[in-house]
């Protein structure tokens, strides 16, 4: 009880600090300082009690705001979906390894499948929240985000499948222990790069800013959401970013969240967001379906034959 509460609260806290890290890194990339007033070098920015310090706050402020329920929306779905999305984002941490042989929920066997299932359930949060707002921009934004997320989640699952082929297990704790002698990232080097790309695009990623294309779609599927429902989407997004960065370390390097190495991929995601221009939507989709997917299918065909020929099945 207490232990799970500590892990979950730590997760929420870590998400809050990730939003700050993003603003700082973006600031550094654009040659400005970024938030540096609240607390020591801006460290208290995410929790700022704005009434006292009179600065713009990030986290607590959104709880204090008024929630608007649009007249024509489907009320239940409209308020339930942000909750659902954030809940799913936190549920990932039931099975995510915290250290060698340590996870919050002791689930024997199928940790990787649980993560895949949760990340694909998250798509319902996007599509229903866009539909239930009963407004044009959220609807179009939800369609686009859904198409993008389901495409790249296929890619993500195929990449996980290559790791399963190589290590012969779907238990995340066993995935870590199987890599104690040598990490699998050397054997599956092309997959490392592809995982980085599809990890960014599978989370509701701010990276290419496609789901919330500000110039044409205002704010994507969450245009009508304000106050804490919006904050839920925001937190869930960063929570998913941390989860997928940790999963990257677990799958390819055999290191868990205790090593803190997921910060590298997190930094890489923010860095890409600051430096790359936005893709057009059709370019993004054709990049997956006509370039990445054929390569992945070929790799899946090649890999078992390779492992069998050289007799290195685990």
């Amino acid at each position: 009880m207490i232990a799970s509460l500590i892990v979950l609260l730590g997760m929420v806290l870590s998400v809050a600090l990730t939003t700050l890290a993003e603003r700082k890194v973006m600031g550094a990339c654009q040659r400005r300082i970024g938030p540096n007033k609240v607390g020591y070098v801006g460290l208290l920015q995410p929790f700022n009690a704005s009434l006292l310090l009179n600065y713009v706050a990030d986290g607590i402020k959104l709880i204090l705001k008024e929630s608007v329920l649009p007249l024509e929306s489907s009320n239940l779905l409209f308020f339930a979906m942000p909750f659902f999305t954030f809940y799913l984002a936190l549920l990932n941490w039931l099975v995510m390894p915290l250290d060698f042989g340590v996870a919050v929920g002791e689930l024997v066997g199928g940790g990787l499948l649980v993560i895949v299932a949760i990340s694909e359930l998250g798509i319902y949060g996007v599509i229903f929240s866009g539909w239930s707002a009963n407004s044009k921009y959220p609807f179009l934004g939800a369609l686009r985000s859904t198409a993008q997320m389901i495409s790249y989640s296929v890619g993500l699952s195929l990449i996980m499948l290559t790791v399963i082929f190589t290590l012969g297990t779907i238990d995340l704790l066993e995935v870590i222990t199987a890599q104690r002698s040598v990490a699998v990232c050397f054997a599956l080097f092309p997959m490392v790069g592809l995982f980085m790309i599809s990890a960014k695009l599978n989370t509701i990623s701010l990276t290419y800013l496609l789901p919330e294309a500000e110039s044409e779609l205002v704010s994507g599927f969450m245009t009508e959401h304000g106050a804490f429902p919006f904050a839920c989407f925001f937190l869930a997004e960063y929570c998913n970013m941390i989860t997928i960065s940790t999963l990257f370390g677990v799958l390819f390097f055999g290191i868990s969240v205790a090593s803190g190495a997921h910060i590298a991929l997190l930094f890489f995601m923010i860095w890409l967001r600051a430096s790359l221009a936005r893709l057009r939507f059709d370019q993004l989709m054709s990049a997956f379906w006509s370039h990445m997917l054929p390569f992945l299918m070929g790799y899946i065909m090649f890999l078992p034959a390779f492992l069998y020929t050289f007799d290195i099945l685990s």
């Binding site: 509460l5 649009p70 809940y87 804490f228 099945l313």
Partner: protein, 117 residues
Amino acid sequence: MGIIQTSIVALLLIAVLYVASFWISTASLSTGGMEKLSAYECGFSQMGTSRMKFEILFYVVGILYLIFDLEIIFLTPLAVIMPSFDSFLIFLIVNLFIVIITIGFLYEYLIGALDLT
């Protein structure tokens, strides 16, 4: 500690924040009238309904996703039990399965069903 216990803790954690935000929020839900409560549409009042037709391509992508996801679900147990079987036959089965899926995908790609422009 069990999975169910932890997921209930997560549920309560978010629920407390969610309910607290409705209590604490300083403005009421009803003030502001139509302007605040109508759907956002570039500063104009709403034109038509938002339940409109959409591009068939999103539907095609959804169907493709279902097929590929099922394929991955079928391949995962094969990948796990492959070391214990250690026979040549199982590679033929896996590869045959992937080839059939790929032929279907190629057909869909070549007739231009995925062409967005």
